[in-house]
Amino acid sequence: MNTLNKIKRTGPVLFSEYEKGSAVKKVLEMEREDILFEIKDSGLKGRGGAGFPVSTKWMITAAANADKKFIVCNADEGEPGTFKDRVLLLEYPELVFEGMIIAGYTIGAKEGIVYLRAEYSYMLEFLENFLEEMRKQNLLGKNICGKGFDFDIFIRLGSGAYVCGEETALIESLEGHRGEPRNRPPFPVNTGYLGFPTAVNNVETLASVPNIINKGGEWYHKHGTDKSTGSKLFSVSGDCKYPGVYELPWGTTLNEIINITGAEDTKAIQVGGASGICLPATEFGRKLSYEDISTGGSIMIFNKSRNMLEVLKNFMEFFVEESCGQCTPCRIGNVKLLEGVEMIEKNEYTIEYIEKLKELGRTMQVASKCGLGQSSPNPFISILENFKDEIFNNKPVLN
C-alpha cells in the first residue's frame, strides 16, 4: 500500500486512547438493553449525513423477531470530497470492526458485512489480514472471548456505483442486483439484507461506538452541542494548505475550518460533498452540526480564483452519471439541470428558464425516490443563489 494517511488532527472523542478489544470484552458482559441505553445516552447519530439516531436504529433491529439479522458497515464512501472512512479503515480498523461486533451483539446479528467501494479495493488485503488477526485473537469467530457470542465479519466489494451508498441500494447490491434503491417502508431494520432485519451503519458511526462503550454515553454527550453530540470527522480538501481528515467537535464554524486548514482567499465552501450545499463567505460563521449545517463531513474549499459555474457543472455531471436511473425526477431532472448549467455557460439562457429549473430542483428534492435525487439539486440551487452575481453578472440575458 502506498498510501499514508496521517490524520491531521485527532480529537479527544473518536480518537481518545483505546486498547484493542477492550470494548468488545466489556460489552459481552453487558445486557443488550444496557448497551442500547448507553448508546441512547451518547446521542450518537448516523455519520453518513442523514443523522438518524443510532440507538433507535439498533433498538428496532434488536426488537425485530427474525431467524437472522445482519449488521452492515457502509464503506461505500462515494460522496465527492469525502475520505474519512478511508482513513478510519486504514488507520483505525479495530474501531470500525469492534463497533460492528458490538452492534452485532446488541441487535442479535451473527454476521457483519463490510460493503467496501470498488475504488478502495487496494485496502482489501490489509483489511482481510486484520480480520484474520482478530479471529486469531478470538475477537471474531465462534465464542468470542469465551463469552458464548458467535460473530464474524466479511468484506464485500462494490463495483463502482455512488448510489450504493444509499442503504437500500447497498442491500440490493449485496443481494446481487442493480444498486437501485428500494421503496421505504419497509425499512432495512425490518426487511433488509435477504429480507432479514439489517442495521446499516456508516464506518464512522461504528468507529464511534467502542469509546462510547468504554467511557460511557454521558462522557460522549459532553462533547459537541446539545443536539449534535460527540465529534465529527471532516474531510477537508480544495484550496487550503493542509487538506486532510480532522476530528473536530460538532459546532465548529466554517471560519474555524478555514483557519485550521490554512485556507486563504476563500470564496466558497461546499459542505457535504456534491450533494451538499455551497456557502459564500457571508455564511462562514455557520456551525457544522445537525441543527445548522448537517453533513457527512465533506468540506471542499474554493478560493477566489475558482469559477463556481465550473464547480456546479462538475457536480451536475457527477449526478447525471451516478443517478441509478430508476425514478423519473432524478433520471431526467438531473440532465435538465445540467443542460441549464450548460446554457448559462454558453450564455444561451433566460432567467425565467433558470428559475423554472430551480422549481424543478425543488420538486426533485421531494419527489425523488432516494437521497440521491433528493439532494442532487442542492448544489444547483445553492450555487446559483449564493453566487448569482458571479454567474449571471456581466452576461447579457437573452430573452
Partner: protein, 157 residues
Amino acid sequence: MNDSEKNIRNEFIQTLVQRFGKERTALLPVLQEIQKKFFYIDEHSQQEVARLLNIHPVEVNSVISFYAFLYDKPRGRNTVRVCKNIICNYHGSLEIAKALSTELGIGFNETTKDGKVTLEYANCFGMCDKSPSILVNDQIHERVNKESVLNLIRDLK
C-alpha cells in the same frame, strides 16, 4: 469464442460458484473475479453464470451494465482511471489526462491497439486530500504528476 476458450471460462466459473455459492448474492463476487481474470465478462460467461445461479442472462447483463467497474466489452489488460472530481481537476488532473492520452495514443474510454491499457475517467476516488490521484487497476496513486503517471504506465505489462 471457440470451444476451448469457452471451456476455460466454464471451468473457472464453476470454481467461483463453488467458492461463492449458487445464490444470487454470489453474482457480484463472481463477476468481479471473471473480470479480474479475463478483463471483461463476455457473452458466453454471462450466460454460464446465469445458468449456474439460475437467473436470466439479461439480468446478469443488466447488473454488469449498471456498475461502472464491470464491463461486457473487450478491454485492455490494465485500466488507468483518472479522477474527474473538481478537486482533482483543480490540482492538475486534466493535464495528466491529456498527457496519458497523448502517450498512449488513445482517447478516454478507448483501449490501446496492443490491448495493454484502457483509459477511463472515474468519479471521486476519495483521495481529494492527496489529489490529483489515479487508479491503475486497483492500486491508487496519489499526488501524481505528468512525469510520474507516464512512468507508471510504462511499467505496465
